[in-house]
């Protein structure tokens, strides 16, 4: 039993972090929110080059996976840097396309990052249907390649552009592995949410250390410190759930990771907003990029209620 990331996994996280720090992601996010995808696509290409999407694709299809622990490690970093785009959905697509039928032809391109995918139930919102090269619909009769998408609707998180998939299209798999895909979706979302929460905490700690009121940094006030200490505690106890779920991939563990990481991240967002005062309430200030994402991820791929039901179901 050695429940710790090894040197390689830590180095992987550090290299993604360094790459994303250098990449000016906030600018890519703002472009993406306006439907300008060039900068975001360039960022995705580098993330794919680092092997992130290949982690969900088996070696037989030119991937490196399946490696859920490394994927979770990567998604924490993607969340920390607020990377835009259908990240989780691309991972979900890789899982759904593992069907022995015609579906698998798309896998090598997903692993390499050449294509990006969005996935949704037919008729519900698919994130970034306008940007994804592959639009997959879970229809009553199986997995379909959607022929297109409806108009873009704004999300609470401007970087997540909501689209409805059009019905019809090629039937790729009559019986796709939906349960398995949901596990990967929840794991990736949990890790991304944890990263979002960590970034919110980091930025808020930095802010309260330099914002002066009453002649001292506001971070020296105990009421401020204690809110941040609570945020830190919640995030640090969500982290082992996320990594533990990646190790076991048991549905209840994954659900616990999802609900805990998303709740911790959302609570941290509330704290971050409060402690930034009015500047936190502006779209101009970068904090907003994480604030809105924490809210959106909370219900993506499993509401708190659905996740809790899963936790209890495992014990029935």
């Amino acid at each position: 039993m050695r429940f710790l990331l090894d040197t390689e996994q830590r180095a992987f996280a550090a290299s993604l972090d360094a790459m994303l720090t250098a990449a000016d992601t906030p600018r890519a996010v703002r472009d993406w929110s306006r439907g300008e995808h060039a900068r975001g696509r360039a960022l995705w290409a580098r993330i794919a080059e680092a092997g992130v999407f290949a982690l969900a694709v088996p070696e037989a299809y030119e991937g490196l996976g399946p490696r859920p622990v490394e994927l979770a490690v990567a998604f924490v970093e993607l969340g920390r840097h607020a990377v835009p785009g259908p990240l989780v959905e691309t991972v979900v697509a890789a899982t759904l396309l593992l069907d022995p039928g015609p579906a698998k032809r798309f896998l090598p391109a997903l692993a390499s990052g050449e294509s990006t995918a969005t996935v949704a139930h037919e008729g519900s919102y698919a994130v970034d249907g306008d940007a994804a090269t592959l639009r997959l619909a879970l229809a009553a009769d199986g997995l379909r390649l959607a022929p297109g998408h409806g108009p873009v609707r704004p999300s609470l998180d401007p970087a997540r552009r909501l689209t409805r998939l059009l019905p019809g299209g090629e039937l790729l798999a009559p019986d796709p592995p939906v349960d398995r895909a949901l596990l990967w979706a929840r794991l990736a979302t949990a890790a991304q949410a944890l990263g979002v929460g960590l970034a919110l905490l980091e930025r808020t700690v930095a802010y309260v250390g330099q914002r002066v009121q009453f002649g001292v940094p506001i971070g020296s006030f105990q009421a401020v410190k204690h809110r941040l200490a609570d945020a830190k505690t919640a995030l640090e106890f969500a982290r082992p759930l996320v990594l533990g779920a990646a190790v076991t991939m048991a549905p209840a563990d994954v659900a616990a990771a999802k609900v805990s990481a998303c709740e911790a991240s959302y609570a941290t967002a509330r704290t971050a907003l409060q402690l930034h005062g009015a500047i936190g309430y502006t779209a101009e200030y970068d904090l907003s990029l994480w604030l809105t994402k924490a809210r959106a991820l909370r219900t993506a791929w499993g509401t708190p209620d659905e996740c809790r039901a899963e936790i209890l179901a495992a014990r029935a």
């Binding site: 039993m1 050695r2 971070g219 410190k225 204690h226 941040l228 106890f237 990594l243 809790r308 209890l312």
Partner: protein
């Protein structure tokens, strides 16, 4: 990164489980916060010790099994899952013993640890004073140099189970005018039945005479009962507080078992919808705490120290414990009011969690300043 136990660790788990199945008393012992219960728990400690299950992570020569932290965690999971009694020797085992391992002499370890392991000598912690709670360094009890030792005077309070315990360990001011309050303190062990010691039991919230005030009037303590160097008591007392204590004060096994029981209670009551989220959160909280402990133990084995991160632990388990037991009492409804149920007793115990072992406000200060690096402010 793995969660697999080695075959040897699995064998250890199986051995512990079998032993516990054969030995755990079928009827719960009376509360260890009463005289009768204290005696019964002491007997239980002796039974554990007879087969070397009382302090599994200690070296064999002091009554342990050299089991290490991972096996200790495994043992604790089995222990609480088996519904075994609370540990009456806990303050000595989790606070004094690590201090002696780090700062004690060979002679002290050989003298103190074996009888602690068997429950023959139960130790009380004598840190708090009427005027020194969170601001512990403001303590006033004195240690004055005497021939071959020290003479202790003053008052200690809130000393858990000191009404029934045998000996105590605590901090005393040996330099009446130090440059700073944390200096000039000496860490000493003393006998609760020595001449000059008066023990006055204090009823807890539920009236049980669990803790006590200690009045010390010129109590002689020989030099061999000073731990570490005289005058260095603060450093000695604090050095071990962070590390293993962060794990061993409250083991995950305890909360895994409690969450399991809570889930059982919820199901027995027909799975009421209003409690569903709270029960689910209790289950994931226990899992989170278990995995956090596994990670901390793994780091510890790599030679890293746990340090201020133990404050995260403290805040987490103490808040968790209350939430879990509140849910249980709510589920019990009218029955939950009855004070003699195991749930009610556990609830009252949980209520103290955010107060003792450093209040949660103090822990949050530590998290903010030492883990997040926020500026120190006025206390």
């Amino acid at each position: 990164m793995d969660l697999d136990f080695t075959p040897a660790e699995e064998a250890f788990r199986a051995e512990a489980r079998a032993w516990l199945r054969a030995h755990v008393p079928p009827v719960p012992l009376p509360s260890l916060e009463t005289g009768e219960g204290f005696a019964a728990h002491r007997t239980w400690e002796a039974e554990l010790a007879a087969d070397r299950w009382s302090v599994v992570n200690w070296p064999a020569r002091y009554g342990g099994r050299d089991a290490g932290l991972i096996r200790w965690l495994v043992f604790e999971e089995e222990y609480y899952a088996a519904g075994a009694p609370g540990r009456v020797g806990q303050n000595g085992v989790s606070l004094l013993a690590p201090t002696l391992f780090d700062h004690g002499t060979q002679e002290q370890r050989a003298r103190v640890l074996p009888s602690m392991a068997t429950g023959e000598v139960v130790w009380a912690q004598a840190w708090s004073e009427p005027e020194a709670g969170s601001d512990l360094a403001s303590l006033r009890s004195r240690a004055v140099r005497a021939d071959g030792g020290w003479r202790l005077s003053g008052q200690k309070t809130w000393s858990s189970r000191a009404a029934f315990a045998d000996r105590a360990f605590g901090l005393f001011r040996s330099d009446p005018a130090p440059a700073r309050p944390h200096q000039g303190l000496t860490y000493l062990m003393f006998d609760l039945r020595a001449p000059g010691v008066t023990v006055r039991p204090i009823g807890r919230l539920d009236g049980k005479p669990a803790f006590a005030e200690l009045f010390l009037d010129d109590v002689f303590v020989p030099d061999e009962d000073v731990i570490g160097e005289a005058g260095q008591g603060w450093r000695v007392a604090m050095s071990t507080a962070g590390d293993e204590r962060g794990l061993t004060l409250r083991s995950p096994g305890r909360f895994l078992a409690a969450a399991d029981r809570l889930h059982g209670l919820w199901r027995d009551r027909g799975c009421p919808a209003w409690a569903r989220d709270r029960v689910a959160d209790a289950l994931s909280g226990a899992r989170a705490y278990q995995l956090f402990a596994y990670a901390a133990a793994s780091r510890f084995l790599d030679g890293e120290s746990i340090g201020p991160e133990s404050s995260l632990n403290k805040v987490f388990w103490s808040e968790y414990d209350i939430a879990l037991h509140e849910t249980a009492l709510d589920l019990l409804g009218e029955e939950g009011e009855s004070a003699d149920s195991a749930w009610a007793e556990a609830y009252v115990f949980a209520l103290a969690g955010p107060v003792y072992a450093g209040t949660n406000e103090i822990q949050r200060d530590i998290i903010a300043e030492r883990l997040l690096g926020l500026p120190k402010g006025r206390r």
